[in-house]
């Protein structure tokens, strides 16, 4: 009896420790970004593009990077969704357990583990072959490739968790698999699908290495699919690399803006998925 209680206490202690570790790393990151970034965050940072001597710590802001990042990650996520949702539905509804679907899952898992700089290099080679330059389109395609495995596997998991009987309830009425997938499976798993999209968006917007070669960088606002765009992770990277303390501080406020965008999108999609899951079977 005594020994079992000690075991219980030890495991409880380990649980508390791991919670504290996770919570405090999140807290520490937020703390650092806020303390270092907030002082130099001002309206001009958010509403202006870099102006004369920006990199020496003078006028202007990072609007180019904010808009660029939203375009890049938004476009990449949309493209990944267009490919990923059909793949996940195929895996979950059409070919649940077959040799093909096993291979698809394995490939996605391997792709998930590929470092983003490799996606960047791959995208770059692809663009060279197509005769494209560093551009918004190149960045979107590369980010879509980066996000695809995460999004698809996350959606696949939630679709596989869905009770088979629900799917069969629809099939029993004479629905095709396609109708079942669209009207029943997607509705039922919508909160999970939104989480998957969010996960992919988060990885896409925060990634610097994959857009380094493919999207380039510019001090201007994005002006077309075939023109280079700036992005927040690269803005942080370049600013931190300068020898000027004021500019380094701006890097932290750019990081703060990035964190905020992810936060707003997370909260927004949580709200959305709770509204949309009203009808789902619990």
């Amino acid at each position: 009896m005594k020994r079992r209680q000690v075991e219980e206490a030890i495991f409880k202690f380990i649980m508390v420790c791991s919670f504290l570790l996770v919570a405090s790393s999140l807290g520490l990151i937020l703390f650092t970004v806020i303390v270092k970034g907030l002082p130099s965050l001002n309206w001009a940072m958010l509403t202006q593009t870099p102006k004369g001597g920006y990199y020496l710590g003078k006028e202007g802001g990072i609007l180019n990077a904010i808009v660029g990042s939203i375009y890049l990650a938004g476009g990449g996520t949309l493209l990944a969704l267009l490919l990923g949702l059909p793949i996940a539905l195929y895996l979950g509804v059409y070919s649940r357990k077959s040799r093909i679907s096993d291979w698809v899952r394995l490939s996605l898992d391997v792709l998930w583990g590929v470092p983003s700089i490799v996606y960047g290099a791959f995208g770059f080679i692809l663009m060279l072959a197509m005769g494209m330059r560093a551009s918004l389109l190149g960045g979107i395609i590369t980010l879509a490739l980066l996000e695809l495995p995460i999004m698809t596997r996350a959606m696949d998991e939630v679709i596989r968790m869905m009770p088979r009987d629900l799917e069969q309830a629809s099939l029993a009425l004479g629905a095709t698999r396609m109708e079942t997938a669209i009207h029943v499976v997607i509705r039922q798993t919508l909160p999970g699908i939104i989480t998957a999209i969010l996960l992919a968006f988060g990885r896409g917007i925060g990634d610097a290495a994959s857009v380094l070669f493919t999207a380039g960088y510019t001090d201007r606002l994005p002006s077309g699919l075939l023109r280079p765009v700036a992005s927040l992770p690269l803005a942080v990277f370049f600013q931190l690399g300068t020898p000027f303390p004021e500019v380094q501080q701006r890097a932290y406020s750019a990081a703060l803006v990035l964190t905020f965008i992810v936060l707003i999108i997370s909260l927004g999609s949580r709200w959305l998925s709770s509204r949309l899951s009203r009808f789902a079977l619990k």
Partner: protein
């Protein structure tokens, strides 16, 4: 006897295990046929061959024929969605679709393009009445179907199944998850509906079988042991195993 569904030399396998062995049966039109037998005897498997649901499980195989109105539903050119539309299914547990009460009933009508607009509203009301649920849900048709009690959900599933205008109803122990009063309501509905539909019901509740059955099929280990009119099978079983089962020996 005017038979609606007929099985000819029907065998079914899960992998290498035979779940149905040479089943030759006829299910009469507009009557309730009850399939009974102990767990694992192939009752549900037999039911699932009638709406081609068995093929949804990996590793299943079928030989022989199932005829609905004389046509083999396993013939190569048969549209499986048409077969399933003809044979409404009432499962062990109700699974309302993730949509409103109204949309649950309208779902089948919409996918088969059967009704639109005002006609759709009328059809939904008609089938909810048919399932005995209308008075309880008429003021909250737009609320989630998952908010209903489990007994109401099962009647909603009945309404949903009736909406696509099937010719028969397949019940796979449809009252097993329900409380006695809800179960009684479903039974009453089935008795009312047998004038219009061929009903095939799987059950392991002997008393339910006695209350509902016009015809009885008794199965054991994948084989049909005995079948015939309910009164005959219950009161004067021809086979020793049927007699033993009816007396509660297994």
């Amino acid at each position: 006897m005017d038979s609606h569904v007929q099985t000819i030399d029907l065998n079914a396998f899960y992998g290498n295990t035979a779940a149905l062995k040479n089943v030759n049966l006829e299910f009469p039109k507009r009557q309730i046929t009850v399939i009974m037998g102990p767990s694992g005897c192939g009752k549900t498997t037999l039911l699932k061959t009638i709406n081609r649901f068995l093929e949804l499980t990996d590793g299943t195989r079928i030989s022989g024929k199932v005829l609905i109105d004389g046509e083999n539903i396993y013939a190569p050119n048969v549209d499986v969605t048409e077969i399933r539309k003809k044979a409404g299914l009432l499962a062990q547990r109700p699974y309302p679709l993730p949509m409103s009460i109204y949309d649950n009933v309208a779902y089948g009508l919409r996918i088969h393009n059967m009704k639109r607009g005002h006609d759709l509203d009328n059809a939904v009301e008609h089938h909810l009445r048919e399932a005995g649920l209308w008075d309880e849900v008429k003021d909250r048709l737009r609320s989630p179907a998952t908010g209903l009690s489990i007994g109401q959900q099962q009647r909603l599933c009945l309404a949903r199944g009736l909406a696509v205008e099937p010719e028969m109803l397949l019940g796979d122990e449809p009252t097993s998850a329900l409380d006695p009063i809800s179960a009684q309501r479903i039974e009453q509905r089935l008795l009312d509906l047998k004038n219009e539909y061929t009903i095939v019901l799987v059950t392991h509740i002997l008393r339910q079988a006695k209350r509902l059955a016009d015809y009885v099929v008794f199965m054991y280990l994948g084989e049909v042991v005995e079948c015939g009119p309910a009164q005959q099978v219950f009161e004067n079983p021809q086979q020793e195993r049927t007699r033993a089962y009816l007396e509660g020996q297994f």
